[in-house]
């Protein structure tokens, strides 16, 4: 694809109301740049967002967009993509949105291998509702609703994605601007479902998983001699709970996306003025 759209064209004139320093700024910038770099235009892009601070992304971007209800962004994005294979679809939301209320949809979107890019702004907390534990919070993370910590292991979204047959699994850090953009770009280019779990620190409610924490603990796969086409290697990294890897962990380059597998490659927005040709045969079937 080629177009003259620039990063700035994907920006709306609405000023984000995110707290100064929120990781979501960087995550969003990467998405906008990734879309521009891969030759997409706002007119031919659809962004679906969930609920939460992260979910506000659709408001701050410029494209066709829907800001839905909590946890259901992936089914919406799936519906858009099946009806409009000609449109680029990006779905974005938070860790609570995607891995708690929307966890079921997440697994099934991965399984379907629908060709969209899912960026999760993972701050390991519920931001918009003011600081409760999220499914990716550490088991000893003290919050207003978990004074002694959730006392259960965090969800490992990448492991869920791998086990559900994910064909593009990546992790990113919003503050590494260049690297984040590059990972999102690859995700957009992938034919099939791409998940980019992005560390987007919440500076207001999470004093554990902070910028400093990530800076100190991130291991970039580009520097770790990782082959993203090696599923076993990906599995080992994904199940390694001691490190915070970023980069593309796994990509199945030969994957067949949903629309291709189901032969739904024509846009569905045209409707004839009357019943479509051949509809009378449907009545005849009941003779």
């Amino acid at each position: 694809m080629s177009s003259n759209a620039r990063f700035i064209d994907f920006k709306s004139d609405k000023q984000p109301t995110w707290c100064p320093g929120c990781g979501d700024f960087g995550t969003m910038n990467g998405i906008m740049k990734g879309l521009a770099e891969t030759g997409n235009t706002p007119d031919e892009t659809f962004v679906v967002a969930g609920i939460g601070c992260s979910g506000k992304i659709g408001t701050y971007m410029r494209s066709y967009a829907l800001h839905g209800v909590h946890g259901r962004a992936l089914p919406v994005g799936t519906g858009v993509k099946i009806a409009r294979p000609d449109i680029e679809v990006v779905v974005a939301g938070g860790d609570g949105d995607g891995y708690s209320i929307g966890a079921g949809h997440f697994i099934h979107a991965v399984r379907r291998n629908i060709d969209l890019t899912y960026v999760v702004m993972d701050n390991r907390i519920y931001g918009l509702t003011k600081g409760q534990a999220s499914p990716t919070s550490r088991s000893d993370f003290e919050t207003s609703t978990t004074p002694d910590g959730p006392k259960q292991p965090p969800v490992n979204p990448l492991a869920l994605a791998l086990s559900a047959g994910g064909t593009f699994i990546a992790q990113s850090f919003s503050s590494n601007a260049k690297r984040h953009q590059e990972i999102v770009q690859k995700a957009i280019e992938h034919d099939g479902f791409s998940i980019v779990n992005t560390f987007s620190p919440c500076v207001t409610f999470n004093d554990v998983d902070t910028y400093d924490y990530f800076r100190d603990n991130i291991v970039d796969l580009d520097e770790a001699d990782h082959d993203p086409t090696d599923r076993e290697a990906a599995k080992d990294k994904i199940l390694d709970n001691d490190k915070e890897y970023i980069g593309v962990l796994w990509e199945d380059e030969d994957a067949t996306d949903y629309n291709t597998a189901h032969g739904v490659d024509e846009p569905m927005h045209e409707v004839p003025d009357g019943a479509p040709d051949g509809a009378t045969d449907l009545v005849r079937e009941f003779y």
Partner: protein, 580 residues
């Protein structure tokens, strides 16, 4: 000679009851006879009593009645279950060789035909054909030309090879012969054939067919009785028209998938039953607030909770009218017959797009499990018109942009309807949201904008009331003092009840309402009548409440909520009691 016949086959679930019933129903329909089928079934797959019933006549039949003339009983229990409907002279066909029938005694006054179904089926090539042997026996009893079965057998078994078809035809012939040779054959029935063409289908199929006719290309659903047949129907068919069916992971996904497709510009739909409607309620509000056209079919069954999943009820009216938090403008269409399900589905898509709103279309279990004959021209594809409402393309987009070239997807207009731009339309970029928003679709808590948008969404309903014809259908004597009103599927039983009532000199005006919201104003009709009765399959009279609310007049209620649909004769008796 009796032509109006009530027939049934009953046994254990898994005995092939449904397919046998369907074969006979199709044979009758192809022979130019009217057919109305019904099913008794329990919520289990194997085991448990189940029956397929057919009422057939040369004249139109549109209801069940309390009478059973010929019964194929595969188990003794089948006879017990139907004892209320069996009468003097009823014919019971059973296989006395089976252990189930070792103690069986034909009830007094009835005619028992002991036919070795299994042995004869084995003679024809396999025990599995015993139901077909029974159908052959029925042809002899009912004086119905057996050749009419052949085409149904061809349609049912053609895919399995000619040999199988021939064996089945043979099985039927053996059954016919056995009765002819072993019993007095001057039964009192004669099923005439005619040259009429009929089609035979149920409400789910009519809704599915209506969706394709309307150009719907996207369907997402999650299996639930009795709505699953909509998905089954569309699967494999909608693809021929460029569409696609998704079996979603749950109803939350189903409605959101359909919403996504609709935002993409496709005509999209989902169908479910009560519990699924509950799950969809949150997104229902989003559909309305984001002004997305969407059609949701609710094929009602008995609630609340999982209630009686295989039983009839019209208990979701309030849910469809009021379900969802906050105030949600919507349309609720309640087709009253199977053929109307087709037309109202087309209308639902047009209303959804003209007013950019969610539209419920309801049917219920009794219509969904009933196959009924219609003249094919009741499904006239040439008469279908699709109206997409205010869709704008590149050439008109500037009319709807603000001074900064931003598209006003939620522009406040006199009729309440805003322009719609599909993704890919240059200059039409916009966001929609479930949050309260301004004309651009951006979140707002501004007091004036809030009121403006709420009024705008409500205005769409007011505009539709002005422009559309939300009318009712009328039967019986328009000048009668007795007015009966019903909504949805009760029409057929009530129309037939009029005949029973006429026989007893009870004169009735009957109004059948296919729209619940917006709905026709019946104030004049109610005021003109002395006795007003509202008939519905629920316990509280949800529609009766609406009539009282609209007309400020108390009405009588006739309610049935035991899980069984109204029968015409039973309904007539209840009405008579109230008005006489």
């Amino acid at each position: 000679m009796q032509d109006d016949l009530n027939w049934a086959i009953g046994g254990e679930a898994g005995d092939g009851i449904d397919s046998t019933g369907k074969i006979f129903a199709q044979a009758l329909s192809r022979a130019g006879r009217h057919v109305f089928t019904s099913k008794d079934f329990a919520s289990r797959i194997r085991g448990g009593y189940t029956a397929y019933k057919i009422r057939t006549a040369v004249d139109r039949v549109q209801s069940v009645v309390d009478r059973l003339d010929i019964l194929i009983a595969l188990t003794e229990r089948t006879v017990d279950e139907n004892m209320d409907e069996l009468h003097d002279g009823s014919v019971i066909i059973y296989d006395g060789e089976r252990t189930e029938f070792s103690d069986f005694e034909v009830p007094d006054g009835m005619v028992g035909l002991d036919v070795p179904l299994k042995s004869l089926a084995e003679d024809a090539g396999g025990a599995i054909m015993r139901n077909i042997v029974a159908l052959g026996a029925v042809c002899e009893v009912a004086d119905f030309p057996i050749e009419n079965l052949d085409e149904s057998l061809q349609k049912k078994f053609g895919g399995k090879g000619e040999k199988i078809v021939e064996n089945n035809k043979e099985a039927a012939r053996l059954g016919e012969q056995y009765v002819a040779e072993n019993y007095e054959t001057d039964f009192d029935f004669e099923l005439e054939t005619t040259d009429e063409d009929y089609v035979l289908l149920n409400a789910d199929e009519a809704i599915g067919m209506g969706a394709i006719a309307a150009g719907c290309k996207f369907y997402a659903g999650y299996p639930i009785t009795p709505a699953t047949d909509v998905m089954t129907y569309l699967t494999g068919r909608i693809e021929q028209f460029g569409g696609h069916v998704v079996q979603a992971e749950d109803e939350l996904a189903a409605i959101n998938l359909a919403l996504g497709a609709a935002r993409g510009g496709a005509r999209a739909m989902t169908a479910t039953s009560g519990p699924g409607i509950d799950l969809m309620a949150e997104t229902f509000g989003l559909v309305a607030t984001s002004e997305t056209p969407l059609v949701i079919a609710n094929i009602m069954r008995s609630g609340p909770s999982t209630g009686m999943p295989t039983k009839q009820e019209q208990g979701d009216l309030n849910m469809m009218l009021y379900g969802g938090h906050g105030e949600i403008p919507r349309f609720v269409l309640t087709p009253t017959t199977v053929s109307e399900c087709f037309h109202k589905t087309v209308e639902a898509f047009n209303l959804a797009e003209k007013y950019q709103m969610p539209v419920y279309i309801s049917a219920d279990l009794s219509m969904a499990v009933t196959e009924q004959t219609f003249k094919p021209d009741e499904f006239d594809m040439d008469a279908v018109e699709n109206d997409r409402g205010k869709v704008v393309d590149e050439s008109e987009i500037s009319k709807w942009q603000d001074e900064q070239d931003r598209f006003k997807a939620h522009a406040v207009t006199a009729d309440g309807v805003s322009p719609r731009a599909f993704p890919g339309t240059e200059g039409g970029v916009h966001m929609s949201t479930g949050l309260e928003h301004d004309e651009l679709g951006r979140r707002t808590e501004d007091v004036d904008e809030r009121v403006e948008q709420v009024d705008k969404r409500n205005q769409k309903v007011a505009t539709a009331e002005e422009r559309e014809d939300f009318d009712y259908r009328e039967f019986g004597n328009a000048d009668s003092d007795n007015l009966v009103i019903s909504w949805g599927s009760n029409e057929g039983a009530m129309v037939e009840a009029l005949d029973f009532l006429a026989e007893e000199d009870v004169d009735v005006r009957f109004i059948s309402v296919p729209y619940v919201f917006p709905r026709p104003d019946l104030t004049d009709e109610v005021e003109a009548a002395e006795n007003v009765v509202v008939v519905e399959c629920n316990s509280t009279g949800q529609f009766a409440d609406l009539i009282e609310h609209d007309t400020l007049t108390r009405v009588e209620r006739v309610n049935k909520y035991n899980g069984v649909r109204y029968k015409a004769d039973e309904l007539a008796a209840e009405i008579k009691e109230v008005v006489a």
